[in-house]
Symmetry: D2
Amino acid sequence: MFETQEEIPEIRERLHRVGITNLRTIARINWKGKFYTFIPTFEITIDVPEEKKGIHMSRLVESITETMSEAVEEEVKEAHTSLEELGLAIIRRLEKKHPHRRAEAWIKTQLIMERETPASKKVTLETYDVEVGVIKEPEKVEKVLKVIAIGNTACPHAMANNQGKTHIQRAIATLEIRTDYDEEIPLEDMIDVVEESFSSPTYTLLKTADENAVVQAMYSNPKFVEDVAREIIFKARQRFKGNIHVRVLSHESIHKHDVIAETWN
Amino acid sequence: MFETQEEIPEIRERLHRVGITNLRTIARINWKGKFYTFIPTFEITIDVPEEKKGIHMSRLVESITETMSEAVEEEVKEAHTSLEELGLAIIRRLEKKHPHRRAEAWIKTQLIMERETPASKKVTLETYDVEVGVIKEPEKVEKVLKVIAIGNTACPHAMANNQGKTHIQRAIATLEIRTDYDEEIPLEDMIDVVEESFSSPTYTLLKTADENAVVQAMYSNPKFVEDVAREIIFKARQRFKGNIHVRVLSHESIHKHDVIAETWN
Amino acid sequence: MFETQEEIPEIRERLHRVGITNLRTIARINWKGKFYTFIPTFEITIDVPEEKKGIHMSRLVESITETMSEAVEEEVKEAHTSLEELGLAIIRRLEKKHPHRRAEAWIKTQLIMERETPASKKVTLETYDVEVGVIKEPEKVEKVLKVIAIGNTACPHAMANNQGKTHIQRAIATLEIRTDYDEEIPLEDMIDVVEESFSSPTYTLLKTADENAVVQAMYSNPKFVEDVAREIIFKARQRFKGNIHVRVLSHESIHKHDVIAETWN
Amino acid sequence: MFETQEEIPEIRERLHRVGITNLRTIARINWKGKFYTFIPTFEITIDVPEEKKGIHMSRLVESITETMSEAVEEEVKEAHTSLEELGLAIIRRLEKKHPHRRAEAWIKTQLIMERETPASKKVTLETYDVEVGVIKEPEKVEKVLKVIAIGNTACPHAMANNQGKTHIQRAIATLEIRTDYDEEIPLEDMIDVVEESFSSPTYTLLKTADENAVVQAMYSNPKFVEDVAREIIFKARQRFKGNIHVRVLSHESIHKHDVIAETWN
């Protein structure tokens, strides 16, 4: 059997990120004492030194599937308590299987949070796209935490010029923090920061009384995408340590295009 | 050289649609005397009789590229006056290259229309996704014309319950007509029907006076997606002959999900 | 409080499908005695008679969330044994909440199946996109079952003309069956039919011995997309009752575009 | 009329990128003496100082549409000779309309190139996704040039272990260069570098003799994604000045997931 990957390549060039991506498999999290099963999308990469032709891709897959293997059965023996713990567990397993200097594990999934509707106080389940990356360099381990929440903006400029009438639209905000692996930042807290910064949060379930409450909230809280971005980065900086990146995109209801506000520290 | 396609397949089964898809190439249209160059996406299919293993895919590509070949050069000799004429020209060329009983040619592209902003009366260029399919059966040729336009809806229910305040959002409507090939239905007329049926059309350019006009229009014209769908199919039936399909989707500003209204005759 | 939805619309026109779409929430299935939690995407629609202006969207959301509400907690009381059972449960709950003549419930999610790698006989978990629709008409209930599997094709024409060398590519096949609600067709059986019809199935985990086995399988089993489509519809017709639709798309490795074969009975 | 944008925001925070995105409109390029019309997607942003609440979005739109306005008519007076020239022209126009310290103009479109098929020497038109960004900082103007090309990889490891048989798949490579605005780097040259680095380029039109030539090329040129990435960055560094980023993604024919190789200098 030939191990072509171990040969010396014609062009000697270190590569920073080589691996697998868009791999979906089952995972299981022990989240505050309750078990959640879900199907995230994974990207796992390592670097390749200049004297090696390639990497052994199947060892990356094994690192995922072995870490996850307990998750298929209901009688799970071990479940990780956060996505970053899961990511680091994959990298630790990979260290025994494949030499490398740096490694990354990225996990993309959805988070479900229980919310209360604003007037009727009913339970509503809300979903959020989240992504967590663990980046292991020779001297340190960092993580990237990313949450995406859907809210809305009511334009203050149109409101000022139309006796309280304005255009309103769905807006999508992303908050991303790159920080030390050990820094404790719950994704749920990041979602809270984003969601509180819109003209109003959005809800999956809204009875008429709730719908009225959301309408009132939007009109009493008009915001540009600029305002949403400023509020997110301001609050995030107060609560979380790390490099913060904010991007707000609004699907303008009066235009075919979108508007954006993006900033970072 | 082997012609594997001509062999008899193990499983004898007539296939209805075999061909190429997601092929992008340059095309050129003589549209009311002016030449427009654009890069549509093509899907061309023919049927395969039960005694043939496969089709000669390259002949489908040639039918497109030969029909289009004049389009690359500025000094075009011949340009088709509509997307359906282009589609039929591809099928006619294909008839000489590859035997078949039925054939389809689908062309997806964008259309640019010049509009006037509602107050300042400036010129604004608006883009619309359109798709045209030509379907040749042994006994007849039909076409499918499809336009997609972006407008908005202001919710009449929230407006009635909130003293004129309401939630507003971007909405996307699709009008599709299947009709005889010879039926003359300009895509621009279809776009007009769709665009007039929203609470307000959307514009790429809006100065403050225009923005105010759009805001006023939305509030004096509140509509459910249901209302938009009803108005499109009602007007479309009056103006166009054929099987009409309408789909309106609204990116609710108070929800994370979308709402739809769909109907047909 | 105004119920604008109950008003008579200006344009009287029955609408076939009005509702919510792209709604993601948590669901729980009791699948052969084991519980699986996942986050599907829902579309629920009902028809609107010509004398009603609109529907009460929140009742559709409630029908989903109430049916699902047990799913959040680990100590679930009741879990449905299939996606169609879940869909019908939503419709049945909706019948008590909102009058209608016809209703549809569509659930899109991923299915995980345990496979064995071809040579080393290791366990590999494979994911498949699936969609199930339940369509309730006044006189009957039907369902649509749809599975999507990823395999590959090795071109027999190039192989015949290049002494056994050929081009190979990833291919994606969709099998859709519309049938009576009571017809028992496991999605897993449909996936089996699709997956066996490629030049070879694909695997998430492949050690070198397995990779060799897949390579050998592809070369000893060259297929056009036409062959894959024929094999799927032939086998599906033998095993399943209903209207069958097959679509195979191959991401040609020698072209920028894709090729397709589509057929139905 | 109120100019809400000029107000002082509650939270004082400089924003780096505020503007419009996903705006499609018509553009016209004078490319080596010939005129090409196309419909790119634009993103234009400026920064917002901490004492201003927002930007005047319509001025960004005007900067695009005025720069482009000549493009609609066949009798064009002025056409730019490259996408970066177009981007800078938009920024220059914006300088007169809206104060700012930094501005970015991003243009995403497709490029058509005429190629020759490898054996029959027929003309084939190939399309490539390209994106150009112009980034104006107070002290300098830079540009980002990005091309995406579709080729294929034939796996050398499987080939070594299967007597010349191997798995082959479509691969997609991105080459991105950030450099001084004045650095002359034709997108076509960048595409050439990428396309020559695969096991073989792909072609829209391939007659059987050409198909055979591509098959032979792939087998005599087996490559990992790692090899493709190394070759692209090696050649790019020799020909182009700037910060180079390479990403190669391959749609593995034996897996459901993709593999990647990414590197930069």
